[in-house]
Symmetry: C2
Subunit: 213 residues, 2 copies
DNA sequence: CAATGTGAATTTGTTCACAGCC
DNA sequence: GGCTGTGAACAAATTCACATTG
């Protein structure tokens, strides 16, 4: 067990291993080797072992890893051995879709508040089954406190993103998932991860255009 | 101008620079330095210059870069000096949101077909303004040919993703954007990029849990 | 003896620092 | 003088290869 700085790529892969282990567990597979995991998620076996080695020794030499145990360990490391409450700002198409996205709930992520300053949207019910109603941004602080929210999601247009980020920060959130295609600035103790859908498409068109392997 | 293998991170950043340049251009800013760009998107100035250097010499020493020109160059490099047609499989919440997502169109990406095998969805109109109607997967080949489609988007649940990927490949697509939280296997000449929303959240919870800077 | 865990080797990516040029 | 472009230095991440162990 080392305690060096851990590459972000390692964390990303850990999340992928974690879900792969969940799949294996559902199929009632009990033991898995680094080679199996590697094949399953498309990385090298050495990579799998190195990634895990940052956090401890989870396997048995000559045997492999116990699926259930390793699944628990990875979830613990990722901090998802519990559930997390999130709020979402921006009740447009993307925001609405994210509210309904079942995968989030399956992994323990719950959207407990939706905010938008568009008067035509306030008061509307987004997800009937979850009793989610769009509220004005002023009510954000209240919800964050009451529902113990740790994560904010930005799903507004680019030009409003920075302003929303500022509000999220002012309300004490330390983790932001940003879907606006723009770089948002936050203090050092706040983490932002941006998911920029167009960027991913442009990586594809780059490769379609420059047809090297 | 070198012709080494280009890091994926460079391409990703190029896409980000490109959009930042668009912003500057809208503000009628004519010249920009690597320091300006770096500040604007949150990387180092040397990084900006190195990234651009993979593709040519676009600046003027002592001056900087011409915004309009560099914007055009980056778009050309990324292959977005033209528009691209895409099809989408999976008319659920996420699929619907992606169809309505205006940012795609703004960057020249057009969804020209939506497919789903769920009988309750077939025939429904997704985007009235675009005249998009959900069709069964069998009609995919037809649309791909007729509309000159190059990119396929997977927005179905994890368990159906591989099957859908196989169909996209069989229909000749070489680029796939996958939103299913699972690794899909495709032949070497097909590019897949996966956008896994939960993975990004788990990177955040990792950091929230291990509170090292 | 099969598969982990890990130091060492290698590859890849980033930053530095400065020569070159407008 | 100021900012680009780039080789060289550095840092980070990945792969290799093998000693270790149940």
């Amino acid at each position: 067990m080392k305690s060096l700085r851990i590459p972000e790529a390692t964390i990303t892969r850990l999340s992928i291993y974690s879900r792969y282990l969940e799949q294996l567990d559902k199929k009632e597979i009990e033991t898995v080797s680094s080679v199996d995991i590697a094949k399953g998620v498309g990385v090298s076996p050495a990579q799998v072992r190195k990634d895990l080695a940052y956090f401890g020794e989870f396997g048995t030499r000559g045997v492999g890893y116990n699926v259930k145990d390793l699944m628990r360990y990875t979830k613990r490391i990722l901090g998802i051995n519990r559930s997390w409450n999130m709020i979402l700002v921006g009740a447009g198409n993307l925001g609405t879709a994210l509210c309904m996205y079942r995968e989030f709930r399956a992994r323990g992520f719950h959207i407990v508040g939706v905010f938008d300053n568009d008067l035509s949207k306030i008061g509307k019910t987004i997800d009937r089954s979850m009793d989610l109603e769009v509220k004005p941004l002023e009510e954000m602080g209240e919800v964050i406190k009451k529902e113990n929210v740790d994560i904010g999601i930005i799903a507004v247009p680019a030009k409003a993103a920075q302003e929303v980020a500022d509000i999220l920060v002012k309300n004490g959130l330390k983790a932001i998932l940003n879907f606006a295609p723009v770089t948002v600035n936050v203090p050092d103790d706040v983490r932002v991860r941006t998911i920029d859908l167009s960027v991913k498409l442009e990586v594809l068109t780059f490769h379609l255009t420059f047809n090297e392997l």
